[in-house]
């Protein structure tokens, strides 16, 4: 059969897929045709800059083939071997969750069981007794996305909603809005047209806790790598501040600063001290746009309540960065046109996921304000967003209510959840185990500052507790903190029934009573725009992180493998069994929903449905004379705000704070929570509750930092893509187990007798994890670096509380504690631990493969085992089997 080319989007970018005889052969970027629009051209400093005529996906997208045929694909519906379907939900051997194996079930058996249990639970406790949640972004596409199909099903059924915490930008969400508003962007700022501004004006880039080649601006793949190269070619000086001299830094940094983790706010104050004492800030701007600046300045200069002057020498003692370097950094920043910020879009970064993350975020914004934020070449912008785009073309992103199949106008009827009870993601185990939990905040508080201070109680008065958990896509054992408490929760009889619906056999799937195998988005239809989080949502117009605005018909490249099915099919089958299947589907297939999304957007004006399907993508060109809407310029130059997705008060020249100005003393904190010990009215550096000043540091002297991963997207790639395990900077494969790399400074390694490549044990009172040591000067001397959420939860004694992990699941070590009483954010980068060379025996293999092998061999005796797929020719064997099956089916047709 001829080769077939289809297109799709993954979290790593937009791709073209070559398949032949029912199997995926290769994956590549989408190369644009001559009849696609021309790229934008930016003129700057005597040069013209235009993007390459192709998408630039990250390597995680280019390895989707390996992930699709992965060793850990869930091939069949499965039921826990010792699960007993009792009439009252008791005596179900819940203590064996995580330990027990599985047996294969037919779809009918599994779905009938799920439907029976839902009916039983509803009758016994009411609709609120079921909770459900997704991981973040396990699969791209507006139909399959968590706010679409998943939301439609659960809202129609009624359930206890599990609110997400803003896990990627905690400090910015809970902190920065009290300094400059932007609560509707969860503390991030606006980057519109700042790529052009930077190419024309900027001289220095401050990349604070930012590794753009790794975190890729979110979902934009490698689209912005070229932009940073252009800036380098123009002589722009890049300064990186990160406890790890990270992958972007080693490529382009003029200078790397490695602060002790959790002390970045002290560095901010040291820089401010230099500016205040040497007059290196924009006094006119501050006089116009800042509120109670002098009180804050007095605090920095030693006239505050603590009477401590925040000199560079003081900052050196906290951060470990020499005072002379702090002065040099401050002078460079204060005397050149400087842009920068933290993390993947300027308001993210591991630094904000610390006990002091809110204060860092506020202080960082204050520093940019002192330099005239919004003036040409002066802004919060980190070279990952802000490309030109045609704002007049609208296609929805995943957070747009207008582009979700749960809602009108895409659906005929909007799905509404009748249950008001809620749970909060980081503390689900606490709530389930204790039966009571209280917290502040709505999770994502985009609707207003007041939402941060709303009180929630579980169980809500008048409601029953949760007794069933439906977990969908990915795993929190790896991305949420204090992994062991999740084990306790899963083994509790309070959870009478656990369903897991996923593509791969992730850590949490192994604790389920019934497992429903979903297919990848290469095996079903969907539609989506690359990197569009929503034009109006919390990351509005994030597609400016791309060089091209591209909407893709995510065609089915191959049929679903084995017994896996699309999430939409699974939910529609359960809905059918519950008696409301027609209401759920409205008579539409997934392809119908794709067409519906085309029809309800500007896409239908630009290209016919047939042409769009045939070509597979549409590129929205940028007019040659596009109108510029430079982010924050309106505020600096005092004209009514003209940037997309702005608020009415911005047209009056006001920020989203109480005073409409940069608040150096926060009036909103004084109003809502004047006694908050974390977010004081004046943002200040405060030593972490788990940091180098803690008593605990005597026993556990190292800081762990677990930033967003390079070889993963949340937990969805590294664990299921063994090709990555061949990268020595990622993992080392020993005895059938891929050990995650943990980085340690040579001085400390020598003290501990550790050599590069040794197996080391990271440990504290919460648990222990085996990793492979990478001894490198790239890491700050007191720091252990191991990427967060890229771990495979692989305990040597499955299902045992506090069992040692060998998959690199470093969240076994991180604190479950929230940032503060009023700040329900998580702080994985406030973790203390110790490290030692592992002298014990090396466990053999991954401890969950046998569960899959057992089921798979029972179904197909000649199939490949997990280890054959990882190590041997099992991968080719799978593809050959699929190809034969495909040919046979074609012959029958």
């Amino acid at each position: 059969m001829a080769e077939r080319i289809t297109h799709s989007i993954c979290v790593g970018g937009a791709i073209a897929i070559h398949s032949e005889n029912g199997v995926i052969r290769r994956i590549r970027p989408i190369i644009f045709r001559d009849d696609d629009p021309k790229g934008w051209v930016i003129k700057a400093r005597g040069r013209e800059f235009t993007p390459n005529r192709k998408t630039q996906p990250a390597f995680i997208a280019l390895t989707e083939k390996n992930r699709t045929y992965s060793y850990d694909r869930i091939r069949y519906p499965m039921i826990r071997e010792d699960f007993v379907e009792t009439h009252d939900g008791q005596n179900r051997n819940t203590e064996n969750r995580g330990k027990s194996g599985y047996r294969r079930a037919s779809w009918d058996e599994a779905l009938d069981l799920v439907a029976r249990e839902i009916k039983r639970l509803h009758a016994a406790y009411g609709k609120e007794t079921i909770t459900a949640c997704t991981s973040s972004h396990h699969s791209w596409g507006l139909v399959g996305y968590k706010l679409s199909t998943f939301a439609r099903f659960f809202r129609m059924m009624g359930y206890t909603e599990l609110k997400d915490n803003p896990d990627s930008w905690e400090g910015f969400t809970w902190g920065a809005p009290h300094t400059y508003g932007y609560y509707w962007r969860l503390g991030g700022t606006e980057a519109f047209d700042l790529l052009e501004d930077a190419l024309q004006n900027v001289e220095t880039m401050i990349m604070w806790s930012h590794d753009p080649d790794t975190t890729r601006g979110g979902y934009a793949g490698n689209e912005s790598v070229l932009w940073r190269q252009w800036l380098c070619e123009l002589g722009v000086q890049f300064i990186y501040i990160d406890p790890l001299n990270n992958f972007s830094s080693v490529k382009q940094a003029a200078k790397w600063f490695g602060p002790r983790p959790g002390t970045d706010a002290a560095l901010c104050e040291g820089i401010a001290h230099v500016w205040l004492t040497e007059g290196l800030y924009d006094k006119e701007y501050i006089a116009k746009h800042a509120h109670r600046f002098d009180e804050w300045a007095a605090y920095i200069l030693g006239n505050g309540v603590d009477r401590i002057e925040k000199t560079p020498l003081w900052a050196e003692r906290e951060t470990g960065i020499p005072a002379a370097d702090i002065r040099a950094l401050a002078r460079r920043w204060g005397t050149t046109k400087t842009m920068g910020g933290s993390g993947l879009r300027g308001g993210f970064g591991g630094v904000c996921r610390t006990a002091n993350g809110t204060e860092f975020a506020r202080l960082m914004v204050q520093l940019f304000a002192m330099q005239g934020m919004g003036k040409p070449g002066q802004n919060v912008w980190v070279a990952t967003t802000g490309a030109p785009m045609d704002y007049n073309f609208w296609f929805g992103g995943y957070s747009d209510p207008l582009s979700q199949i749960a809602n009108q106008p895409v659906a005929d009827v909007t799905a509404v959840n009748p249950v008001t009870q809620k749970l909060y993601r980081p503390n689900v185990p606490d709530a389930i185990l204790d039966g009571h939990y209280e917290w502040y905040g709505e999770g994502f508080c985009g609707g207003g500052l007041d939402l941060e201070f709303t009180e929630h109680i579980y169980p809500e008065p008048g409601y029953n507790k949760v007794h069933c958990f439906w977990r969908y896509g990915g795993t929190f054992m790896g991305s949420m903190l204090d992994t062991n408490k999740w084990i306790k929760m899963y083994q509790s009889p309070e959870l009478e029934f656990v369903i897991n619906q996923d593509i791969h056999f992730h850590g949490e799937a192994r604790f389920a009573d019934v497992i429903l195998p979903a297919c990848t988005n290469l095996e079903r239809y969907d539609i989506g725009e690359m990197c569009n989080s929503g034009n109006g949502g919390y990351q509005s117009h994030s597609q400016t992180g791309n060089s091209w605005q591209i909407v893709v018909f995510q065609d089915k490249a191959i049929e679903p493998l084995w017994d896996s099915m699309s999430d939409y099919w699974i939910f529609s089958q359960v809905a059918e069994r519950l008696g409301w299947g027609d209401k759920f589907t409205e008579g539409r297939t997934e392809l119908d929903w794709c067409r519906r999304l085309w029809e309800k957007s500007d896409l239908c004006e630009k290209v016919s449905w047939e042409d769009f399907r045939n070509k597979g993508y549409y590129v929205a060109g940028v007019p040659e004379d596009w109108e510029r809407h430079f982010g924050f310029r309106w505020f600096a130059e005092e004209y009514p705000c003209d940037t997309p997705n702005h608020k009415p008060f911005q047209e009056e020249g006001l920020l989203g704070t109480f005073t409409g100005k940069f608040e150096f003393v926060s009036e909103s904190m004084l109003y809502y929570a004047p006694n908050d010990e974390v977010r004081t009215p004046i943002a200040t550096y405060k030593p972490s509750w788990e940091g180098h000043h803690s008593i605990k540091a005597r026993q556990y002297p190292f800081h762990l930092i677990t930033p967003h991963p390079r070889f993963d997207y949340h937990t969805q790639h590294n664990s299921s893509t063994p090709w990555f395990w061949e990268i020595p900077e990622n993992r080392v494969y020993i005895n059938g187990n891929p050990y995650l790399v943990a980085r340690i400074h040579p001085v400390k390694a020598k003290e501990k007798g550790i050599k590069d490549g040794d197996i080391i044990e990271l440990f504290n009172e919460r648990g222990n994890v085996l990793c492979v040591a990478r001894v490198t000067y790239r890491v700050e001397i007191n720091t252990i670096h191991a990427y967060g959420s890229s771990g495979i939860y692989n305990p040597v004694e499955p299902g045992k509380f506090k069992s040692m992990d060998i998959g690199g699941c470093v969240n076994v070590l991180t604190p479950g504690r929230l940032i503060g009483e009023y700040v329900p954010g998580m702080a994985p980068n406030s973790t203390l631990l110790d490290v030692r060379k592992w002298e014990g025996p090396l466990p053999e293999s991954q401890y969950f493969e046998w569960k899959l092998d057992k089921v798979n061999f029972a179904a197909e005796p000649d199939t490949a085992s997990c280890s054959e797929i990882i190590e041997g020719d099992g991968f080719n064997k799978l593809q050959s089997q699929e190809s034969r099956k495909y040919k046979k089916e074609r012959a029958n047709v």
Binding site: W394, P640, P648
Partner: protein, 67 residues
């Protein structure tokens, strides 16, 4: 540009407006260039394709706010 935008925010997101032809529109987005609307049927359901209206257009000036 700035003056145009002041007009943009005179329209209320999620507000219902009557057109000169008697149709009822719901404004679902207020963007830099356009108000984006859907027509409402007699039951209040959003129907048909997305309608773009420039906030400075003649049509926009004739929209009557309902609620």
């Amino acid at each position: 540009m700035a003056n145009k935008l002041m007009v943009q925010h005179m329209f209320k997101v999620n507000g219902r407006y009557r057109t000169p032809e008697g149709k009822t529109l719901k404004v679902v987005l207020s963007e830099v260039y356009n108000l984006r609307c859907f027509e409402l049927d007699e039951k209040g359901n959003m129907t048909g394709p997305m309608i773009k209206i420039h906030p400075e257009s003649e049509l926009a000036s004739k929209l009557v706010y309902l609620d």
